[in-house]
Amino acid sequence: MKKEAVIIDYGMGNLWSVKSALNFIGVETLVTSDPKKIVSAKILILPGVGAFRRAMTSLNERGISKAIVEAVGRKESKILGICLGMQLLGQSSTENGFTDGLGLITSKSEKFNNDDNSDIKIPHVGFNSVYFPEKSILFKQLERGSDFYFTHSYKMTMSNLEGLESTAQYAGDFLAAYENENIFATQFHPEKSQSNGLRLLNNFIMA
């Protein structure tokens, strides 16, 4: 039987490319905003392009926030948050004013800082090397420092999190990926990272 991933549709984000990447590696996909389907899903993907505050409002209004937290709480299902989707899994963000997140990762999102006239361009956009702990499941069969595609102006901070932290460097280290039991997240876009990203998506599905 083929595995099915449920891609959460909350009116934001590029669902098409996540869907085609999963289909490419032989995974069926269901794109839905129905909380009932999300609660009962085994494999969840939370994609996201856009602003944190708007996204959180949309998740709350549609009853999706509760559905995600409930599904993940049961531990039989797993979730992968991608880009904004990763930040939404966190505690909060300061984008367009302070906003609470889903609280599944105990880290906050804040803007890259170039106020000190450093030559850092914002957004952080392009392929960058990711360094992961050896025990990582997401990065199995990938080389240390493998390249993944990022595009974001806000980043998640590292703060001795419970799970495994992978990092990338841009104006210092930031959280590039996270994994803890059934919660997985990447700040980069695996669906836009050529074969490296497809490998990572496959690792998540098999985890």
Partner: protein, 268 residues
């Protein structure tokens, strides 16, 4: 460390791929032609990003354009910027639903600034790529819109500064004089950019061979070089260009996994 980028541009005119020279278009074929002769999914393995533009002059069949975008993006796992005739939020959503990750704005910079703000608040700044087409007139650099037909009066330096202050994530600078000529990039406009450049710059217009790409990517102000020169990079052209660039010290991303291997793996 953040890598430099090699970007390919596909131009579509009423559903047909075209080559552009100084913004004059020459039709080369439809999507079937592209897939048959170029196996585009495979070519896309050698690039960091793809830009697909609707450069239709008059009649715009956006459904035909977006169907083609979907067809192209199905097998491409790189970021995709889509643009051309973008005039509303609804249209932007359609672009994104067809495989776009980023939206290109051009004439909007001058006539629809409000739309750029709306797009940014809906999708974030990183989703918006501004593109300015420039031409040299005597010793002056001038900015043109409407596919190179309309001269935007005003000092180019001021226009660049104003554009970089808009809520956009990146800026493409494209030389109309060099477009499709293969004579190499025209770097002069770079001197008009602000000293403290806080947004990535994509440079295009005139790339005819890997040396031109190297010249562009070695430039400190340039983050990415784009080319729409289909014929110069046919077959292994882009793969070879990429390894030439890496051998010459350009810091480009590497992808070590074989696509075929991942695709074949049964996920059961």
């Amino acid at each position: 460390m953040l890598k430099k980028r090699l970007i390919f541009i596909l131009l579509l005119n009423n559903g047909k791929f075209v080559l552009s020279r100084n913004f004059r278009l020459q039709e080369v074929g439809d999507i079937k032609w592209l897939q048959t002769h170029y196996n585009f999914s495979s070519i896309s393995r050698a690039i960091d990003e793809l830009i697909i533009l609707d450069v239709s002059r008059n009649y715009v069949n956006s459904e035909l354009f977006l169907d083609t975008v979907k067809e192209i993006t199905r097998g491409c796992f790189v970021p995709i910027t889509v643009g051309g005739h973008l005039q509303s939020l609804e249209q932007a959503k359609k672009f994104l639903d067809s495989g776009a990750d980023k939206l290109l704005v051009n004439s909007n910079i001058f006539f629809q600034e409000e739309l750029i703000f709306e797009l940014a608040s809906e999708y974030g700044q990183q989703c918006i790529v501004a593109c300015l087409d420039f031409k040299k007139k005597l010793d002056n650099i001038e900015i043109f819109t409407s596919q190179g037909s309309m001269n935007q009066l005003g000092n180019a330096k001021n226009i660049l500064e104003k554009t970089l202050k808009l809520p956009v994530g990146e800026l493409i600078l494209n030389s109309i004089d060099r477009d499709g000529t293969g004579q190499g990039l025209d770097f002069e406009i770079l001197s008009l950019l602000p000293n403290l450049l806080d947004k990535p710059i994509i440079f295009s217009g005139g790339v005819g061979n890997p040396i031109h790409l190297l010249e562009g990517l070695r430039n400190k102000q340039i983050d990415a070089v784009a080319t729409a020169n289909l014929f110069n990079f046919v077959g292994d052209g882009l793969f070879n260009a990429r390894s030439y660039l890496t051998q010459n010290g350009v810091n480009l991303a590497t992808w070590n996994n074989a696509f075929s291997e991942i695709k074949k793996e049964p996920v059961i």
